[in-house]
């Protein structure tokens, strides 16, 4: 129906992934004491980024096939 959901889904998670990974990269390591010393922002941000890109890829491929 008009809009392929994978596009907004992909853009949203790419954006969230970049935000978290970027914040994780630059933030003070001391705040990760509570997450057992793991920089969860960086690692989980990268996972979300990967998911978002894959969704965007699927969405683009589908859009190109129909046009």
């Amino acid at each position: 129906m008009g809009l392929d959901i994978r596009i907004p889904l992909g853009v949203m998670f790419t954006l969230l992934g970049l935000l978290l990974a970027g914040f994780g990269f630059f933030s003070d390591p001391a705040i990760y004491q509570r997450s057992l010393g793991i920089d969860v922002n960086l690692w989980w941000g990268l996972v979300l980024l990967a998911f978002g890109t894959v969704m965007l890829g699927f969405g683009w491929r589908a859009a190109h096939r129909t046009h």
Binding site: M1, L3, P8, M12, F13, S27, S35, L36, V40, N41
Partner: protein, 567 residues
């Protein structure tokens, strides 16, 4: 809990997308079918995730974690027994009639199969229920956000109601479904790292089980009572739920679960919006795959919270107490969020929580506006108007549906026991439903008079059973026993299961009896509505891995495996 800028930004991104999706979809809504049924154009995987998400409201996420803390791993029965088998049954046996009859709602199917009064009874009770459930959900959210973030109750309620209103008003059901898909992935993204950190902290599943053994023995149960599903179900007194395996299988697994998943328009609407019969049938099966894994996302956090509460030393955290001195299990997930998540991902976790609240509310609102417009307004108030008129009515219904929910949230905030009473009443109305649909779809002799009499007597039987029994240790009143006390159950859950079993049985017997003495409908009128009179669907031309029977068998086998692994 204190939030920093990055948390607000994460939350802001989510709200921008939720509204953006609604805004983009507005130009695709031209007819009432677009608005209420997404023009029957949704792909199976999208419908499937929405099917799951619509049910994933506040009560689900907060309540399941609370039950995980209270009862342990056995809470998974609500998924592996109380959902998956019914979802497979819906897909394989019932969806051909819901989708194939071209009914626009579940009450409309009842009208086609039985008669006007059966539809009316179902439509009115369902519409009332959805408005109140969404109000109760909003109330729960208002309380939680107030407690966690210090947000004002009014602000939380009006803001969330406003956002849901905006995106449904713009894009109708498609908007709700698309946002449910976003919400599904957000909930997974927000809670998966939480479970990972909690388990890692406690030393994995082994470490968690060892700690839960202390929880169990300190309350007088066998050590594995919190970490097993079936092991302690032989007897109601040997597990914290206070139920035995027969009550679980019959009450939860059969009557309550099939009654919800196979008849509730809230979830079935998502499948009805699918683009084809085969997509509609795959919808519940696709939903079943993440559904069977959800215990690890929503129940395990509760188990981690209770295990951690017993820990002494600096690294543990303790669930706060309620005013009556018991632990506040509802705070399991919020407490874990604030304990394990640093800023950044904390925003993501809170967004996941907000997303679950909104998806539950949106599900109720879209089901309400459809049933109101097609089954109440078009059927009884204004027949034969133009399609455009009903589309406008759908938008108006969205506004007053949400308005009524907000009102219900305020009623719940002021008169807590009114809501308890309403929920009890809804349980009585829902309990017999599955008997009616089962007979309607699989017994051509069942008549409208039979169905109507069966529903009323089933509801009466549920009320009567509740009035005559009581969970042990409770006082007569809202918990039961308000007529006389004939039997005491080991727990409230056992009483609920047996109320459902009685309601179903009475409805079944009365429907059959009344049907046999009333005149059946001509067989030609029932083609497409009843199993024996409908041509079988041929799946042979589909790829084998998309056939519902194959997918269904796979889903059931995987669920069985999970039960055995966590026996």
């Amino acid at each position: 809990m204190h939030l920093s800028e990055i948390d607000w930004v994460v939350m802001g991104v989510y709200f921008a997308f939720v509204l953006g999706v609604g805004y983009t979809l507005r130009r695709y809504v031209k007819t009432s079918t677009d608005y209420f049924l997404s023009g029957r154009s949704i792909p199976a995987w999208v419908a499937g995730l929405a099917f799951l998400s619509a049910n994933l409201g506040a009560q689900e996420v907060i309540g399941m974690a609370a039950s995980g803390a209270k009862y342990g791993m056995a809470t998974s029965h609500f998924y592996w027994v109380g959902a998956i088998p019914a979802m497979v049954f819906l897909a394989i046996f019932m969806m051909p009639f819901y989708y194939g009859s071209q009914a626009r709602s579940v009450p409309e199917y009842l009208k086609m199969r039985f008669d006007e009064k059966t539809r009316g009874l179902n439509a009115i009770s369902f519409a009332t229920m959805t408005v109140f459930s969404s109000g109760i959900s909003m109330y729960a959210m208002g309380l939680l956000l107030n407690l966690l973030l210090g947000w004002d109750f009014d602000t939380s309620v009006w803001l969330s109601a406003g956002i849901v209103l905006a995106y449904i008003l713009l894009g109708g059901l498609t908007s709700a479904i698309y946002n449910e898909v976003l919400q599904f992935f957000l909930i997974v993204a927000g809670f998966a790292p939480l479970v990972f950190l909690g388990l890692k902290d406690l030393g994995g599943w082994q470490g968690l089980s060892a700690r839960l053994a202390h929880v169990a023995t300190s309350q007088g149960f066998a050590p594995q009572a919190w970490s097993s599903t079936w092991h302690q179900m032989g007897d109601a007194t040997s597990n914290p739920m206070g139920v035995e395996w027969f009550g679980v299988v019959m009450g939860l697994g059969f009557v309550l679960s099939f009654g919800y998943w196979c008849t509730d328009f809230l979830v079935i609407q998502r499948a009805m919006a699918a683009h084809s019969m085969s997509a509609a049938r795959r919808t519940p099966l696709i939903a079943a795959v993440p559904k069977m894994l959800f215990p690890f996302l929503v129940i395990v956090p509760g188990m981690i919270a209770i295990a951690s509460s017993l820990r002494t030393g600096a690294s543990g955290f303790v669930l706060p107490h309620k005013a009556d001195g018991t632990l506040n299990y509802d705070l399991s997930i919020p407490m874990m969020l604030s304990h394990y998540f640093p800023h950044g991902i904390l925003g993501l976790g809170l967004t996941a929580l907000l997303a679950s609240f909104m998806s539950g509310m949106a599900g109720n609102v879209t089901a309400f506006n459809t049933v109101w417009t097609y089954d109440i307004y078009q059927a009884y108030i204004h027949r034969g108007a133009s399609d455009h008129h009903y589309l406008t009515m759908g938008r108006v219904a969205t506004v007053f549906g949400i308005g009524l929910s907000v009102a219900a949230a305020y009623v719940a905030n002021h008169f807590n026991n009114i809501m308890d009473m309403l929920q009890l009443l809804f349980a009585f109305v829902n309990a017999p439903l599955f008997a009616t649909f089962l007979l309607g779809m699989f017994w051509k002799r069942a008549t409208g008079h039979g169905a109507f009499a069966g529903l009323l007597s089933g509801t009466a039987a549920a009320a009567l059973h509740h009035g005559l029994t009581l969970p042990r240790g409770s006082v007569p009143g809202i918990k039961g026993g308000w007529l006389a006390l004939l039997h005491a159950y080991p727990s409230e859950m056992a009483q609920n299961f047996w109320t459902a079993i009685w309601a179903f049985s009475v409805c079944l017997v009365v429907t059959v009896a009344v049907s046999l003495i009333t005149r059946p409908r001509a067989e030609k009128d029932l083609v497409g509505l009843v199993y024996s009179l409908t041509p079988r669907l041929r799946d042979a031309d589909q790829a084998w891995y998309t056939r519902p029977a194959v997918l269904g068998a796979g889903v059931l086998a995987a669920t069985l495996l999970l039960n055995l692994l966590f026996w």
